[in-house]
């Protein structure tokens, strides 16, 4: 699950034995989840190298963007792995930034903002687990509610953070070319990777997402795992909000709407299955890298934000209809259409 998948080029190379190649391709597509992210990253890398190589010379900007998208996408990965979704991340990002900025001292503001993220995650999980609302709808309601809250807390205008020097210092490289934002992202990435692949609680996320009933019967505390997942996602989104506000030295209540789209696209194209149970942090990293590079490349080539939204929206739409389940469903519909006269098909 975690190893790099074969680039598409090599799969095409073995097409002499048509049947064998198709079968092998199927196995590869069935087992690996990162294939699409690799393909997109390849396309984006080649295109930017040719069209806009400045993306790589000004790599601080690019890495910063990748880190922001990646951080939010990492939190989402934990939730989506369990077959749930957290649409509230974008507003969580905005609210936590605004909350941090409205305190006089960062030493108070940052912990309060991060705690807010945890609380938001708990509230989301409460609605999903205790009340029994579908997470899409519960977190959508929270998205609207928190977006309003960010406007109310900030009085509908960007809030300057109290300690601007700290914000400026935060944007400076501390280790080689790496700013604190990237370091935090790297730490979060490694931590979540170890958590999901080596720690029992994290492994159980896959079980919960793969088959919740079976996970429950196997003695996994499903409700607690879902709570943990939503709290991770809320906390990480709040962290991204804090970092974002620190680097811009101001918290914008409208922050996060473009991050929402990009981070979803990153996680989904990275191979995290929306039904849960499959995917890897590594795939999310690949997805975030390709989308971050894409966004920076578009910005640096002077493409308007509106057109960027079209592109990122298109990537998300393609990502969500090309996941293995969707392709199988589409193939099934097509077959049913062709054989519609031969009576009802068996389920499957």
């Amino acid at each position: 699950m975690t190893e790099t998948s074969t680039p598409p080029a090599q799969q095409v190379g073995s097409s002499q034995h048509a049947d064998g190649a198709v079968a092998r391709l199927r196995t590869i597509l069935g087992r690996r989840t990162e294939g699409r992210a690799v393909a997109l990253l390849g396309v984006v890398l080649v295109a930017t190298l040719i069209l806009e190589p400045v993306v790589f010379t000004s790599y601080e900007v690019t890495l910063g963007r990748v880190a922001l998208i990646g951080l939010v996408a990492l939190g989402l990965t934990a939730v989506i792995l369990m077959g749930e979704l957290d649409l509230a991340v974008a507003s969580t990002l905005a609210v936590s930034g605004v909350i941090m900025a409205s305190f006089d001292s960062l030493l108070v503001g940052i912990p309060v903002a991060l705690a807010t993220g945890l609380v938001i995650g708990m509230v989301n999980a409460f609605f999903v687990i205790v009340v029994g609302i579908n997470s899409f709808i519960a977190t959508l309601g929270m998205l609207f509610f928190l977006r309003g809250a960010a406007f109310v807390i900030s009085d509908e205008a960007p809030v300057r953070i109290a300690d601007i020097d700290a914000g400026i210092a935060f944007g400076r490289p501390v280790l080689g070319p790496l700013t604190p934002r990237m370091l935090i992202f790297v730490v979060a990435f490694v931590a979540l990777h170890i958590f999901l692949t080596r720690v029992r609680v994290g492994r159980e996320f896959y079980a919960v997402g793969g088959n919740r009933e079976a996970a429950y019967d196997a003695g996994i505390p499903v409700a607690r795992r879902v709570f943990t997942g939503f709290m991770i996602s809320g906390f990480v989104a709040a962290l991204a909000g804090v970092i974002n506000a620190l680097e811009r030295t101001a918290a914008d209540p409208t922050a996060g709407s473009s991050v929402l789209l990009a981070s979803f696209a990153a996680a989904i194209i990275g191979g995290v299955l929306l039904n849960g149970g499959r995917g890897s942090v590594f795939g999310t990293l690949l997805g975030a890298s390709s989308l971050g590079i894409l966004q920076v490349a578009l910005t640096l080539s002077g493409v308007q934000v509106d057109v960027q939204n079209i592109v990122i929206g298109g990537v998300l739409l393609i990502a969500v209809i090309t996941d293995p389940n969707s392709l199988r469903a589409a193939a099934g519909s097509f077959r049913a259409l062709v054989r519609s006269r031969s009576g009802p098909q068996p389920p499957g």
Partner: protein
Amino acid sequence: MTERATTASTHLPPAAEIEQELEETAFKLSEWMSQQGIFIFTAALILFATLFIDGFASLPNITDVFNRAAPIGIVAAGMTFVVISGNYLDLSVVAQVATAGVVLIAVSNAAGLPLAILVAIAIALVYGLVNGVAVGIFKANAVIVTLSTTFIGLGMLRWLTGGSIYFGPGDGPIRLFGSTRIGPLPLAMIVFIGVTLLLSFVLTRTNFGFMVRSYGSNREATRLAGVNSGLVVIGAFTMSALGAMLGGFVLAAFSNTAVSAMSEGYDFRALAAIIVGGTSVFGGRGSVLRTLLGVVFVSVLTNIMVLSGWGFGLQQMAIGLLIVVAVSVDALARKATAA
């Protein structure tokens, strides 16, 4: 749950029995509320507004409420099909309403009203097809799909218009439609009621409506019964798209202007109206007539908030909370029915 109920009545001490009974009453109450509560709540809200909110019960204000309710209501009536089909909602109505409004004004300025309407219908069909194919054929998640089509659609609209405002001519059919009133009822409100009755007929009396409801309550059974589920979902999203288009027309005609940002908040207001009306977000249960009632509730609530000087942020918080509460009541009612 049934098991617990039996043990409670035979073995548990009185205190626990009472607790059990209370719990059951609460469940029954939540079920009743999710079904019938909207009538009481709407009446109570209107009574409250009439008594305590200055300026609510005046003819200009009531006309204003109607004028604002009509476009949201038409959008919500169409979107009800998507919700009943079990696909949560159509977020892309925000993009669709604005696109239809801008097309109506801008294209009719340039090439006449009939062409504008044709272009808008074509765009609506494209939206219905793209959303419907992605959700119905590829079985992709409706929230994610319509989130991406929102960004694509709004991005295109803003890119093509540059965010500029389009004004209709001072006289002409659009202005006439937007300004005609029969008593306190603007023409838009009559269109809204007409659309509601028509869509209600489609949902309850036609094969297509039956299939949408059936698909919403049990997908697998509907599919095994030989229904082409892909087409049902495409149909539901097309109804939503046509509703959003008509809502955009009405909204643009009301002010005789159109701009890409004019439909902000239509996604959650329409969803709130549908859910508050009692249409289940879990699919299969609901009606367009209930959505009409939900629209009245949400519009009166919004009007109260505006008259009380609440900003957009507070309004958004309130509607977001309303959605979560209404869905919670529905979810608890379903638990009660299942138990």
